[in-house]
């Protein structure tokens, strides 16, 4: 491994569509834009490129990770720097190839080069599933974030992934619970964060909780991760996650803010909620 202090973190889940790409983009901008880290994001979802869209960088892609691996481009040529934020770079996935176009050892090579370039955080957006794409994405990582939704099949797959990470010496992964609906949790109709933690066991470390929030959709539409926008809970939650990753102790957000008008009046007058 390169003799740098950089952290190499894979964002994974097992089940598809739970928020890996959204999470990678948001933690990436929060670390680079707000916390001054030099961040490289690797889209390891080869064949299903998406991280570029979440970051609004899709029009700038010239070369991709497979071009680098196959020697058509240097890593530096393929990296796309965000215009508004020189501390953030994206290595895009190839869209027209499949997972077998990159091998674990090639992935490790790329990560070493990024470390030599001085990136302090290297975040890898893992594809869904447990096959080659997963093995590639985890190969060079030294830490893992497991994203899950508070929902049965997602938690089950997260557990499976935690076992597979273990087999790759990626112990005690971080956990992000995404798309939580506080109202349903209150009505006991959705697994609470504590339930998810209970079931997954004490070797996962809760890193943060993201509410279900329309701002995720609108911000992705614009190619501007929610963490860049003020005044929304999901973005705030992602900024807090970035700070926790850096070792700060940040209290968990109260997501229960969208209570009704009367609830708020009641609480102003000292009523219990």
């Amino acid at each position: 491994m390169a003799d740098s202090n950089s952290r190499v973190i894979v964002i994974t889940s097992g089940k598809g569509g739970v928020g890996k790409t959204t999470t990678t983009a948001n933690i990436g901008v929060a670390l680079s834009h707000h916390l001054g880290e030099k961040v490289a994001l690797i889209d390891a979802d080869i064949g299903l490129r998406n991280l570029d869209l979440a970051l609004g960088l899709e029009n700038r892609i010239v070369y991709d990770i497979v071009d680098v691996v196959e020697g058509r481009a240097k890593l530096r040529q393929a990296l796309i720097k965000s215009k508004s934020n020189q501390n953030l770079a994206l290595l895009p996935a190839a869209q027209t190839r499949d997972k077998s176009a990159v091998s674990p050892s090639q992935m490790i090579q790329i990560i070493q080069e990024l470390q030599e370039e001085g990136y302090t955080y290297i975040l890898i957006d893992c594809p869904a599933g447990i096959e080659q794409g997963f093995r590639n994405a985890t190969a060079g990582a030294t830490e893992a974030i497991v994203v899950t939704n508070p929902e049965m099949s997602s938690v089950r797959d997260a557990d499976r992934i935690i076992g597979l990470l273990e087999a790759q010496e990626l112990h005690s992964p971080y956990l992000i619970v995404n798309r939580l609906r506080p109202k349903m949790v209150k009505q006991q109709e959705m697994l609470a964060v504590e339930d998810v933690q209970d079931v997954l066991g004490s070797n996962v470390r809760l890193l943060g909780v993201i509410p279900e929030d329309e701002v995720i959709i609108t911000s992705t539409n614009r190619g501007e991760p929610a963490a860049l926008l003020e005044g929304n809970l999901a973005g705030q939650a992602y900024r807090n996650i970035a700070r926790r990753l850096k070792g700060e102790t940040v209290p968990f957000l109260n997501l229960d803010e969208k209570t009704g008008f009367f609830d708020r009046i009641k609480s102003i007058f000292g009523g219990k909620r």
Partner: protein, 87 residues
């Protein structure tokens, strides 16, 4: 007793969250250690049989689970003892 209808369609006074949590617990036990629910039941019974020779056990509170820890999977049994049998 819950009616067959209730059982089939999962209606009960339990919240759906608790139902989900219980179902998850069982399915993960199986996923993690390839132990089926009947097998787990048998393990429970045999642990009870062996230990009852020496101590009084709170059968209702006996809890056997399969947990992930760093380094692998452990079978954990929490066995509340009412009292040690006099020899």
């Amino acid at each position: 007793m819950r009616s067959l209808f209730d059982r089939l369609f999962g209606r009960s006074d339990k919240s759906t969250k608790d139902v989900a949590k219980n179902r998850l617990r069982f399915v993960l036990m199986h996923d993690r250690a390839d132990i089926s629910a009947p097998m787990m039941d048998q393990i429970r019974q045999e642990i009870l049989a062996v230990l009852s020779k020496y101590v009084d056990i709170d059968e209702q509170a006996l809890d056997v689970s399969v947990e992930r820890v760093d380094g692998g999977v452990v079978l954990a049994a929490s066995i509340p003892i009412l009292r040690v049998n006099a020899k």
